[in-house]
Symmetry: C2
Subunit: 205 residues, 2 copies
DNA sequence: CACAATTATGAGCAATTGTTCAACCTGGCC
DNA sequence: GGCCAGGTTGAACAATTGCTCATAATTGTG
């Protein structure tokens, strides 16, 4: 371990309850500020101000701005059950539509929490480094899991399963992402139904 | 016209060839810089440097940084023939697949030029003001045109045509956008085929 | 209470950014 | 050639940003 590498982990572990509360206030404030102003305009001073904590305290627990976003992203990714949903159905005999519906529903649920913040994290997160890598990895895991499922399920008749896997995951993630975050928000039940219809029909050719 | 409103138009119209060349150099440089560094990190000084023009000249033709991005966006939107494609087929008797394929192909063509820059313009463009409004407007035009087509074409059997129109435009735009810009780029012919199959099948229910 | 470890503060630094402006070139017309 | 509007320059300014550090308050322990 070289010592000049960028530190992403907190520089100090909180040892008193007081400190843990401070950490939580900072994180909650950061979520709000990033969602409202975007990453670049969401300044650390603004976050500290909103958390009603001095800027010095913020830097006691996060070595830099990136680390704050990284922790928010980690929390989201850890809560993301999209891949888990796909894996659960891998060996099952359920009809294809049931599986796809479960998948779509999971993705929708993952986006309900804070669509604005999620948008910032995915679109404006630093274009290099640890954050991008983690997002990319999760994305590919999902594609691979779907591909396994396409290969295993008898109802699936699509020829080019590789392309299909990429297309389907992208379609679900992106449309849900966009249509939920849109100011003129769409009816979620309808979105789910149409999306399931489209994808199930497609996979059966 | 109040005088304190933000100026988006160039502060000076070029009157000599020399000046027009300078403008073009600035614009071309800006496209490269924004694509490479993103909007926030693509500084005006860097743009001027790359254009081999002094920073003062840049501000002689563009009142501020936003205006440069706005002009790049205008050029892209003016070249965007997605809505035109849809309108052309509105009254035709062509099979649905032909129409959808033409539409998908147009969208793909629009993204081939400079995917990176397009990504910046759509994702990182200022979240308010003129730029956002124009993007939103173009998006809704496309949805409306597709909706007209869905209502007119006999092959279409989807129940919820409103949701379908939004879902289909989003799907095509976003997946093409993402899958072309992705570092591990997808085969375009396959993408086109699968996308057309999926959407055509869906619209016929 | 005493004392050390932990936590909190916020003025201010160093770096960067968008932008201005006074001074300087250049090309074309009389 | 003389002239001047049009064009170019780049040092410098004001504002903003991420972040540091000396100092002070608070907490737990004996």
């Amino acid at each position: 371990m070289t010592s000049d590498q960028r530190r992403i982990q907190p520089r100090k572990q909180p040892r008193q309850v007081r400190a843990e509360l401070t950490r939580q206030r900072i994180l909650a404030a950061a979520a709000h500020i990033f969602a409202e102003f975007g990453y670049a305009a969401g300044t650390t001073n603004r976050i500290a101000e909103r958390a009603r904590v001095s800027i010095g305290s913020l830097y006691q627990y996060y070595p830099n701005k990136d680390a704050i976003l990284a922790e928010l992203l980690t929390r989201h990714l850890d809560g993301d059950r999209g891949t888990a949903t796909l894996r659960r159905y891998k060996e099952s005999r359920e009809p294809l539509e049931t599986i796809i519906r479960a998948f779509v529903r999971t993705v929708i649920d993952n986006h309900l929490d804070d669509p604005q913040l999620l948008r910032i994290m995915i679109e404006q997160a630093p274009r290099s480094g640890e954050i991008l890598e983690r997002v990319t990895q999760v994305k590919w895991e999902m594609i691979d899991d779907l591909l396994d499922l396409l290969n295993a399920h008898p109802e699936v008749r699509v020829q080019d399963k590789d392309t299909a896997a990429r297309l389907v995951t992208s379609t679900v993630e992106l449309t849900v992402h966009q249509l939920i975050a849109a100011p003129d928000s769409i009816d979620l039940t309808r979105l789910e139904n149409e999306l399931v219809t489209m994808i199930t029909g497609y996979l059966r050719t």
